[in-house]
């Protein structure tokens, strides 16, 4: 267990952390580490650091540690934490902001979740919609889990709930331009 040297570590990351907190609309000093967010988090059982601990890392200036957690990827943005926080902190929004920053810095701790998002969005960019069969098909292929959900797949095809050919919108150009403009305004996909 590494020791935390203050104020050096917090000084270095201070600006970045303040900027991220502002983006998320969160005042980190308001958190008194009560743990209500972590107590109610439905994905908490799978996280390496509870939401409370992620905030604590930021309070101490340990930005890199926070960005390396699995937690920020596993967060399902269900907002249970933000709704129950006695200090009204938008915890889920903060996790979202950290996840975006981690991706920006290419720190991808949950490769499969990232892969899923990338495939989803590239489908949207191409078709204007997210066709489920293409999504799961490509995901299985790229993640190497070729036969994941194969059992369910057959039922889906039989009942007409899955389509091999994706539905496309007419104005896919509009979607492509939306993507382009958002990328130029910062962030990536």
């Amino acid at each position: 267990m590494e020791k935390v040297c203050l104020p050096s570590i917090s000084g270095k990351n201070h600006q970045d952390i303040q900027h991220l907190a502002k983006e998320a609309g969160v005042e980190l000093t308001k958190c008194y580490q009560c743990g209500k967010c972590s107590a109610g988090c439905p994905v908490g059982f799978a996280m390496d650091e509870s939401p409370r601990r992620v905030i604590r890392l930021l309070q101490l200036g340990l930005l890199d540690e926070a960005l390396k957690t699995h937690s920020i990827w596993l967060c399902a943005t269900c907002d249970t934490c933000s709704t129950r926080c006695p200090n009204g902190i938008a915890v889920a929004a903060l996790m979202d902001t950290l996840r975006q920053e981690a991706k920006r810095r290419s720190i991808i701790t949950e490769k499969n979740i990232n892969l899923f998002n990338e495939i989803f969005l590239s489908n949207v960019k191409m078709f204007g919609r997210s066709p489920e069969v293409i999504l799961s098909g490509l995901y299985n292929l790229k993640s190497g889990n070729l036969f994941q959900d194969a059992d369910a797949g057959s039922h889906l095809f039989k009942t007409g709930k899955a389509h091999i050919l994706p539905s496309k919108i007419k104005n896919t150009q509009a979607i492509k331009r939306i993507f382009a403009k958002c990328l130029e305004k910062g962030g990536q996909h």
């Binding site: 009560c34 209500k36 107590a39 109610g40 409370r52 006695p86």
Partner: protein, 660 residues
Amino acid sequence: MKRIGVFICHCGSNIAATVDCAKVAEAAQAFPGVSFSSDYKYMCSEPGQEFIKDSIKKYDLNAIVVASCTPRMHEHTFRKTLANGGLNPYMFEMTNLREQCSWVHSDIEKATAKAIDLVRMSVAKVAKNEELFSSTIPMHKKALVIGAGIAGMQAALDIADAGHKVVLVDREPTIGGKMPMLDKTFPTMDCSACISTPKMVEVAQHPNIELMAYSEVVEINGFIGNFDVTIKTKAKYVDHAKCTGCGLCETKCPKKVPNEYDLGMGLRSCIYKPFAQAVPNKPVIDAQNCRKLVEGKCGVCAKVCPTGAIKYDDTESFTTDTFGAIVMATGYDLFKWEDVYGEYGYGKYPDVVTGLHFERMVNASGPTGGKLKRPSDGTTPKTVVFIKCVGSRDSAKGKSYCSRACCMYTAKHAHQFLDKTPDGNAYVFYMDVRTPGKGYDEFYESTLRDGAVYLRGRVSKIYQEGGKLIIKGEDSLIGKQVEVTADMVVLATAMVPSAGSRQLAQTVGFLPDLNGWYQEAHPKLRPVETPTAGVFLAGACQGPKDIPDSVAQAGAAAAKVCGLLSKSQLETNPMTAKTNTAICSGCGTCIPVCPYKAIQLESITERDHHGHRITRNVASVNNGLCQGCGACTVICRPGAIDLQGFKNDQILEEVDSLWM
């Protein structure tokens, strides 16, 4: 001819850091009427005051301006200095260079220019000051204590023991407040009723205390030394003079309703005493539920009463009296957690209760005879979870403050539960454990030795599964989610000001603070006084606190009251309104505008310009009632009524001086 002395205070660095005091003093020297101007480090200190007195003598000064802090701080101090220096204390003006200048600005140049302007205004005003003389008002040697919980009772007893008469009012049928509802008190584990009921009896028997239970204060007029109070006594439907308290009526009453004293967990009759040791130990009838009063049926109590004390035609009665001082001791209520905590079930899970419910259950004279039983099925709980800070330290849904007593009483509850259930499991979810009092931390430590497990983390959710309650929390010390399967949950809910306390404050004439607690005059130095002269505070009505602090505060309030009542008269503020009868036309427009009802029309007889005697009306101000608000001076069309110390032309001089 005014000979004005101007003294600019540095107040250490409070003023001097932002205002160039020497420069202000220099500029003041040139103001019209100024004979002497200087600056000094601490005007309020002894050498500072000596400096003023010496200067008065040396330069033959007859009016003083001190430019320093807020008049609320030291106006009184400097007026005394003037008096000691041989001047009338009202030949004095104070300029606020601290709260209204140096403390709110940072630019030295601009702040100094502003300070010079402010002093210029004060000099212009003091040039028109006149000597004022205060008068006196009588002090009624009787105190009113509103609220007869432990704080109210203690204050009443202390005042009564000092030899003064006290009227003690409480709106419940019994006095005692919340304390007799508790089982044991920390840290000594004294039986609460055993230590509070003797005080209740003492209060009832004290020759100097007039006890008015089941009564409320409905109107207060007047001011310190002379509060005219109207008290309403609610209809009891039982003649307490005839009633012996035998209790036969209670046993025969056929209709039972949930007992407020047991928080609805037990039943009482419609003719009832709240609990067996109630003082007065005589019943009242619950008019909302009594069959006779609502439907005209029954009437059993009247039939069985051996002294014929039942009075179905009773009505509320009003009494008025005059008091010199009032002590507010209205206590607290508990936060209605069921209205906002959906994650804990909104109150629909019967086995999720508050700390006060726990007290009633564990109390031998409570609804379960002292046995801990699950409200849902009556079985004995084996695993109990205690959750602290429900509604406290929660600015999102509850109150932002800490309720002070819950850490101790939760440790007490955990201890009591483990004591009654040796193989039981007690889990306490906490954020902090606050144990500042004597023996408090040791008490908490002993609870840990009893086997209570303290988990640091707020609980996110409680839900039912089968017949159990599932509590989802976190132990932040090991950083893991914790799930407890419990039989019962006890919530330590926030203390809030007593119901109706806000309206009562308005009736009495003072303000509660942001959270509704009664506002003290100064948080550090004047904790038992309110900004309204003659009204004092005792106990939890001023803010959440435990029994030792309530008793201490009650004693402090009593001491202040005794200090007042030991005087036979009080000096009044001479800055009151005064009528210039030469201009006053007697129109009477000022009369309804006065919030203190201090103005009346008075008839005067004088000679007109022909020499004839005429009688006419003019406005006349009662100096005792007038509080110097100045509303009458604004509404008076000819400007006949003016406020001494703040005359119209004084204010205009101040304004004009800015254009020099």
